[in-house]
């Protein structure tokens, strides 16, 4: 009597595929989802993962999630981020911490940097929630960014982590 092997029966590839799907599903389930209204003057990319907005003249807003590891609070990460980017040569010219309408704490730091022969702004907004940090990044040439900075800041106050 022949002993069935995984390759002869075909159940082994099915098992591997199933496992991969399970891991993927678990990962997807762990990735937090965010919501934020489109700032004035921005349109949303519906098909992109996470939040993604853009103005007609190219100022971009994008959210992503990173692991809160080693686990620390918002003040720690805001400080670490500022030090790191300043050490790289970015110029910090504004920072502001605020509470969202849902009571979450957030901190925004705006950095000026040279990019493609122009002065650009890279604004990083952090929200720490449990094991994750929501990073909302805004970037654009300085003069174009300044025109929409207030509307982006207002939209940040409505940022929320979806259950």
């Amino acid at each position: 009597m022949a002993i069935p092997t995984p390759s002869s029966t075909g159940w082994w590839p099915m098992l591997r595929l199933g496992s991969a799907l399970a891991v993927l599903a678990a990962l997807t389930a762990c990735t937090p989802k965010y919501a934020m209204p489109a700032p004035d003057g921005f349109v949303r990319f519906e098909d992109k993962k996470g939040l993604a907005y853009i103005t007609a003249d190219g100022v971009q807003v994008r959210s992503r999630s990173v692991r809160n590891y080693p686990k620390a609070d918002l003040a720690f990460w805001a400080d670490a981020m500022e030090r790191h980017l300043v050490a790289r040569g970015y110029l910090l010219h504004a920072k502001k911490c605020f509470k969202t309408s849902r009571g979450a704490d957030g901190c925004t730091a705006e950095f000026v940097l040279p990019h493609s022969g122009e002065d650009w702004v890279l604004a990083e907004t952090l929200f720490v929630h449990g094991d994750h940090i929501a990073v909302v990044e805004t970037a654009g040439p300085f003069d174009r960014y300044k025109k929409v900075a207030a509307s982006v800041a207002k939209a940040m106050e409505s940022f929320e982590v979806l259950p």
């Binding site: 790191h84 050490a87 040279p114």
Partner: protein, 248 residues
């Protein structure tokens, strides 16, 4: 005999021209100069001699001199303020800054898309810099101060000496023959050239001491470069403008 005397005078004058700068500190040929100056001889008799001091009972003249308050020295300085400021509308800020500088008695010396250089009176410097700074975000600011007091004092002394020599040379014309007159004229021409040069330099230094320079740049990218620094926190290494734009 006259020719010999005139020649000697010309040689002395030439020497005085060469040592004009040193003359201010310790005038060369002081005795002769003093003798030539009207009222110079009065200085000696007016000063109390050692015997007179004893008679007057002035035992410590040096201390008495020290007690006289010295006039405060007014420093002549040139000021240059440099700032890099980011503004949303550079053309509006530029226009407002030029108008303000003109109202304060200044003027623009360089106006380009990214640069603005202004000359303003010293007293208007702070207000001009503050106005530019308030219009945007100041990325860099510096103030350079150069003391011109000594330079101006030296030039003024040299000018004074040369003018005195010129006046003295004029007095030689009365008793000179043709040959000597020509030599005097030659010396005077040279002196006039030197005096004009010095006056020009003095005007430039005076203007620098009165008008401050403001150099405003509306660009930051020329000043700094981004370098790669690794953070021990892995996700911080992903904060980067190029990565952001590539991932969008």
């Amino acid at each position: 005999m006259k020719i010999v005397v005139l020649s000697a005078s010309l040689v002395a004058a030439a020497l005085l021209v060469c040592t004009a700068q040193a003359q201010e500190a310790q005038p060369a040929g002081a005795a002769a100069a003093k003798a030539a100056r009207p009222g110079a001889s009065k200085i000696g008799p007016d000063r109390p001699t050692g015997d007179q001091k004893a008679v007057d009972g002035d035992a410590q003249p040096a201390k008495a001199v020290e007690n006289v308050p010295k006039p405060a020295i007014e420093r002549a300085t040139s000021l240059t303020a440099t700032l890099v400021v980011k503004v949303v509308h550079p053309e509006e800020v530029r226009k407002a800054a030029i108008e303000r500088a003109k109202a304060a008695g200044g003027w623009p010396t360089l106006v380009t898309e990214g640069e603005l250089h202004l000359k303003v009176p010293h007293e208007a410097l702070a207000a001009t810099v503050d106005q530019l700074a308030a219009a945007g975000i100041v990325l860099q600011k510096s103030l350079q101060r150069v003391d011109l007091t000594e330079q101006i004092a030296q030039m003024q002394a040299r000018l004074k000496s040369k003018r005195e020599i010129l006046e003295r040379l004029r007095t030689f014309f009365a008793d000179s023959d043709t040959q000597s007159t020509l030599r005097i004229e030659q010396s005077m021409t040279q002196l006039v050239i030197e005096i004009e040069c010095l006056q020009g330099e003095l005007h430039v230094a005076d203007a620098s001491a009165k008008m401050a320079v403001v150099q405003a740049s509306f660009q930051y990218h020329q000043r700094q470069r981004i370098s790669y620094v690794r953070s021990p926190f892995e996700w911080l290494n992903s904060l980067d403008i190029d990565r952001f734009l590539a991932d969008f």
